[in-house]
C-alpha cells in the first residue's frame, strides 16, 4: 500500500494528516468536515486555528471500522471548480501540472492515488462530480438530506450533502449505507425514506439535447462513445429537451451566494479561526479588518453577490425568483424521471486544465465549467460521476442523475458501467 504521507508530498492532497492509520481501511474528509484533533478550515486562511471540539456525524459513523488519515484540500469554502482558491493546491495524479478539479480536489486525488481509500467530500454544485471526472474516479453525490450534515462547515446550506469518492464502484455501494441515515442533529436528514440497495436496475437514460455543444473534442468523443456503449448494453437512450437547465445556472449561483453570505457572516475574528486583530478598533472596523485580510478574492466576490441579491427589491427579483427557478427545475427533472431512470450528461465540459490556467481563469468561465455538475446539486438530486474515457491521457467523466432518494439506480449504473469500461489508474511513482 502506498504511504499516504509520501503521496501527500507528491500530490499535495492533504491539508492535515494523522500520524498513522491504526486500521487497514482508511478514509479522509474534505477540509470542511469537522473531526476532533483535525484543524478544519474549509480551505480558508480565515479559519486557520479552528480545531473543532466535536466529530461530524459522518466521521462518527466511519471511524468504527476505518481510520481517519487526514483532511483534504479544497477550494476556499468550496468556491471553485479547480481547487486553486484554497490554502493548498492539490495536483492531478494523471499530470501533476494539472488541476484535480474542485472544490473537493484533494479528496478525488486521494481516492485516485491511495488503494481502496474512501474519500468523503461535499458538493453544493458539482464539487464531487468535477474532481471525480478530472481524477478518473467514481464520485457519488447522494440526495440532499440522505446524509447528516452535522459537522459540515456550511457555505451553502440548502444544497451539498456529503458524498463519496472511490476508485471502485463497490466502495460507493459499501459506504453509502454507512454514512446515510436519520440524525436529529441535522433536521434536513430526518425526512428521508429508507435507503434500499440492489432493487433497481438502470434501463433507460435521458440525454439533454445539445449537451455536447461547446464541450472539448475529447469530451465529446468519450461521451458519444459511452452513449453508444450503453446502447449496446441494452440501456435505452433518448434525447430530451431540458430548457430549464440554462436558467438553473444563474439561479444556482445566486442561491449559493446568498446562503454563503450568511454562513460566512460569523467569520470575523471573534470566536474561531484567526484572532490576531487590533482589539482597540470599533467592532465594525475590527470585523472588517479580518474579512479584508483573510477572505480570498472569489469568496469576497460571492459575499458581494449574495448581499446584493438580497438587498431591497433585489430580494424579490433575484433571491426569491431563484427559489422559484429551483422549483421549475425540479419539476422538469421529475417529468423526465417518469420515463427514465437517469439523466446522463458529461461531468465536465473538458478534461483537467493546467493549474496555471485555472488560477487566472475568470469567475464566469469557472462557473460555466459546472454547467452539467451544478444543476443536480441545485435540485438536491443524487448523481454519480463515472470515468468514461481518456483524452490525451487525461480522464473524462460522465454523470448520471437520478430522482430524489434513488441512489440505488446510480449505484447500479456505476456497477454496470465498471463491468464494461476499463478504469485506468494513474501511473503513480513515489
Amino acid at each position: 500500500m502506498t504511504s499516504y504521507h509520501d503521496a501527500d508530498k507528491k500530490y499535495n492532497m492533504f491539508s492535515g494528516t494523522a500520524a498513522a492509520a491504526d486500521k487497514k481501511r482508511t478514509f479522509s474528509i474534505s477540509d470542511d468536515i469537522v473531526a476532533r484533533n483535525f484543524q478544519a478550515t474549509a480551505g480558508s486562511r480565515m479559519l486557520e486555528g479552528y480545531f473543532p471540539v466535536f466529530d461530524s456525524a459522518v466521521v462518527s459513523r466511519m471511524t468504527a471500522e476505518n481510520s481517519l488519515i487526514g483532511t483534504t484540500n479544497m477550494d476556499e469554502f468550496g468556491f471553485g471548480m479547480f481547487s486553486v482558491s484554497g490554502t493548498k493546491i492539490p495536483k492531478n495524479p494523471f499530470d501533476p501540472e494539472r488541476s484535480c478539479g474542485g472544490s473537493c480536489g484533494g479528496a478525488a486525488c486521494a481516492a485516485s492515488v491511495l488503494e481502496d481509500h474512501v474519500a468523503l467530500g461535499t458538493s453544493a454544485g458539482g464539487s464531487i462530480s468535477s474532481p471525480a471526472a478530472f481524477c478518473g474516479v467514481f464520485g457519488l453525490t447522494p440526495t440532499f438530506g440522505r446524509v447528516s450534515r452535522y459537522g459540515q462547515i456550511d457555505t451553502v446550506s440548502s444544497m451539498g450533502p456529503v458524498g463519496i469518492f472511490a476508485s471502485k464502484s463497490e466502495l460507493l455501494k459499501k459506504y453509502l449505507p454507512v454514512i446515510s441515515g436519520k440524525d436529529e442533529r441535522d433536521p434536513t436528514s430526518t425526512a428521508q425514506p429508507e435507503l434500499k440497495i440492489g432493487k433497481k436496475k438502470l434501463r433507460s437514460v435521458a440525454v439533454p439535447k445539445g449537451v455536447t455543444d461547446g464541450v472539448s473534442d475529447g469530451v465529446r468523443k468519450a461521451f458519444d462513445d459511452s452513449v453508444n456503449m450503453l446502447k449496446s448494453m441494452s440501456v435505452n437512450v433518448e434525447y430530451v429537451d431540458m430548457p430549464i437547465l440554462r436558467h438553473a445556472m444563474p439561479a444556482h449561483y445566486i442561491l449559493c451566494a446568498t446562503e454563503a453570505t450568511t454562513n460566512l457572516a460569523g467569520y470575523c475574528g471573534m470566536r474561531c479561526g484567526q484572532r490576531d486583530g487590533d482589539l482597540s478598533l470599533p467592532f465594525n472596523d475590527y470585523f472588517a479588518s479580518f474579512r479584508s485580510k483573510y477572505f480570498g478574492a472569489e469568496t469576497k466576490l460571492r459575499i458581494i453577490i449574495g448581499t446584493y441579491a438580497t438587498m431591497g427589491e433585489n430580494r424579490r427579483t433575484m433571491y426569491l425568483r431563484s427559489l422559484g427557478v429551483r422549483k421549475l427545475a425540479i419539476n422538469s427533472y421529475n417529468g423526465i424521471f417518469k420515463d427514465h431512470d437517469a439523466v446522463l450528461t458529461p461531468s465536465m465540459p473538458y478534461a483537467a486544465p493546467k493549474i496555471a490556467d485555472a488560477v487566472i481563469m475568470s469567475s464566469v468561465d469557472s462557473y460555466m465549467a459546472s454547467r452539467f455538475a451544478a444543476p443536480p446539486a441545485f435540485c438536491g438530486l443524487p448523481s454519480v460521476s463515472v470515468p468514461c474515457g481518456y483524452s490525451d491521457g487525461l480522464p473524462v467523466g460522465m454523470q448520471f442523475t437520478a430522482c430524489h432518494w434513488n441512489e440505488d439506480v446510480l449505484l447500479d449504473a456505476a456497477d454496470l458501467w465498471e463491468r464494461s469500461f476499463i478504469v485506468k489508474a494513474p501511473e503513480v511513482s513515489l
Binding site: F54, D154, D186, T188, T261, T262, A265, C268, T307
Partner: protein, 445 residues
C-alpha cells in the same frame, strides 16, 4: 398620538431554542453554552418543539391566524452579541398574524407574533465589552402591534394585561428573570421614532412619556421629527438618538435552510389552549353579570381564585360568592393558595351554610378565616369583637387622618388598609369601607 409596540417575551422552555443547553438556572456567565449556541462552524440548529407549541398558544391568545406550514429565516446583522451574525427568526410565516387583543373593550390590532432566538447579552465595562452567551439561543416570541395605543399609560396597561395573559396560557413563572423587553414606536405628528430595548413596564411608560413630550416640543418649535432609533437611559430617564433607523430590507432576510419546513398544523392540532384571563373576565361579565372591574380584580389576584369563585357561584349564586371571594378569601389568598384544592370543599360548605341562613355573617367570616389560616378561634373572635372599636383604635393611632379626610375622602383609605390588614379578612371589605366612612364622617361633623 400613535404608539405601536414590539414586545419580546422569553418562552418557558426547559432547553434553548435550537440546542439542548438548559434555558434557566445559570449561576455564572457563559455556563450554559455549547458549540451550537456559540455558532461554531459545523454545528446546526435543531428546533425545540416546545417553543413552537408555546408560540401557538400565544398566537391563539392574540386571536392570530396560525399558518399550516412555517419556516425560519436568517436576519443578518453584525454585532458581537450574536456569534453567527445572523439571527434565526421568522419573516414570511410568523407563528401568528393579523390578530387582535382586547384591552377591556378596546381592540389593539396585532400585526404579527413570531418566534426567534435571543442573542447573547453584552455589558460595556470601561473599554471592554463583556459578552454572556447564556442568553444566546433562548426562545423568544416577538409581538408586534399596530399603532393603536393612544397614550403611554395605556401602553403600560396593555403590557401588564398582556403579560398576565401570556403567563397564564403558557404557564410562564413570575420569576422576574424573564422580564419584558419592548421596542416602542411613537409618533405625535407624522414621522415616528423607535425607542429600542426598553426593559420593564415602568420604563416603557416613562420612555414613551419623555418621547411624547420631546416630539411635541420639536414640532411646536417648527422642527421636524427624523425617523430614527433612540435609546432610553434608565438612569437619566431620557431618550437619546442611537443611530439611523434601519429598514427591514437592510437585514437581507433569506430562508434558514437548516430547519426546513415545519408542519405547524400538526403541532397545533395537539396543543390544548387554556382560556385566557381576559376571556375569563369577559365571561364573568357576560354570563355571571359581574362588574368588569371586579371580575378583573378577582382574575388578576389569581386564576385559581377565579375558578373557586366560579364553583361557588354554581352553589350559592353570584352575589353571595362575590361577597366572600372579594372579602375574606381574597384577603387571605396568599395563605390559601398553597392548598386550595383540599380546602375548596370545606369553604364551599361554610358559605353554603351561610346562604341557607344557618350562620350569620360574623360566624361565616370567622369560620372561613379559621379554615384558611388554621388559627385559634378565640384570637379571631376577639378581633371580631366590634368593627367600630377596631376602626376607632386605628384612627387613634393615625390622628392626622381626620384632618386629611376633611380635605379629601381618599385619606380614609389609610384606615381601611390598616384595618383590613389587622383583621385579616374577618370583615368584608365593603363593611370596612362603609364603617370607616361613617365613623370619619361623624368625627368631622
Amino acid at each position: 398620538m400613535r404608539i405601536g409596540l414590539e414586545i419580546h417575551v422569553q418562552l418557558p422552555t426547559r432547553s434553548k431554542m435550537f440546542c439542548s443547553c438548559p434555558a434557566t438556572g445559570a449561576e455564572g456567565p457563559n455556563e450554559h453554552i455549547c458549540p451550537g449556541c456559540m455558532g461554531m462552524p459545523g454545528t446546526r440548529p435543531s428546533l425545540n418543539r416546545a417553543a413552537v407549541e408555546t408560540g401557538i398558544k400565544i398566537a391563539r391568545l392574540l386571536n392570530c391566524t396560525v399558518p399550516d406550514v412555517a419556516w425560519f429565516s436568517r436576519k443578518v446583522y453584525y454585532y458581537p452579541d450574536i456569534c453567527r451574525h445572523y439571527q434565526i427568526t421568522q419573516y414570511e410565516t410568523p407563528i401568528g398574524s393579523k390578530g387582535v387583543y382586547y384591552l377591556g373593550d378596546k381592540p389593539i390590532r396585532i400585526t404579527r407574533a413570531h418566534l426567534e432566538e435571543d442573542p447573547g447579552s453584552m455589558r460595556i465595562s470601561g473599554n471592554n465589552a463583556l459578552i454572556d452567551y447564556n442568553r444566546s439561543g433562548m426562545p423568544l416570541v416577538e409581538i408586534v402591534t399596530e399603532p393603536d395605543i393612544s397614550s403611554p399609560a395605556e401602553a403600560r396597561e396593555f403590557l401588564k394585561a398582556l403579560l398576565r395573559d401570556i403567563r397564564h396560557v403558557t404557564d410562564l413563572p413570575d420569576d422576574g428573570e424573564r422580564s419584558i423587553r419592548a421596542d416602542c414606536n411613537i409618533s405625535v405628528g407624522t414621522e415616528r421614532c423607535e425607542v429600542k430595548n426598553v426593559t420593564g413596564l415602568k420604563n416603557v411608560e416613562r420612555a414613551l412619556t419623555y418621547e411624547a413630550v420631546r416630539q411635541t416640543k420639536v414640532i411646536r418649535s417648527g422642527g421636524k421629527i427624523v425617523r430614527e432609533t433612540r435609546h432610553y437611559d434608565e438612569e437619566r430617564k431620557v431618550t437619546t438618538s442611537a443611530r439611523k433607523k434601519e429598514f427591514e430590507s437592510d437585514y437581507a432576510y433569506i430562508g434558514e435552510p437548516h430547519l426546513g419546513m415545519i408542519n405547524v398544523k400538526k403541532i397545533a392540532d395537539s396543543v390544548v389552549t387554556k382560556e385566557s384571563p381576559h376571556d375569563m373576565i369577559l365571561r364573568f361579565r357576560n354570563e355571571l353579570g359581574v362588574d368588569e372591574k371586579i371580575a378583573a380584580q378577582i382574575v388578576g389576584t389569581s386564576v385559581e381564585m377565579a375558578k373557586l369563585f366560579e364553583n361557588l357561584v354554581k352553589i350559592v349564586g353570584t352575589e353571595s360568592s362575590l361577597k366572600w371571594v372579594t372579602g375574606p378569601i381574597s384577603a387571605n389568598w396568599k395563605a390559601l393558595e398553597k392548598n386550595v384544592s383540599e380546602k375548596t370543599g370545606p369553604l364551599t360548605d361554610v358559605i353554603a351554610m351561610h346562604a341557607k341562613g344557618k350562620i350569620n355573617d360574623v360566624e361565616c367570616s370567622i369560620r372561613i378565616k379559621e379554615l384558611i389560616t388554621g388559627e385559634d378561634r378565640k384570637t379571631t373572635e376577639r378581633a371580631a369583637d366590634d368593627l367600630d372599636v377596631i376602626i376607632r383604635k386605628a384612627i387613634e393611632d393615625n390622628p392626622s387622618v381626620v384632618g386629611d379626610y376633611k380635605k379629601s375622602d381618599k385619606a380614609a383609605n389609610r384606615i381601611i388598609g390598616a384595618v383590613m390588614k389587622s383583621t385579616g379578612g374577618v370583615f368584608s371589605s365593603s363593611d370596612i369601607v362603609e364603617a370607616t366612612k361613617r365613623i370619619l364622617n361623624d368625627m368631622i361633623k
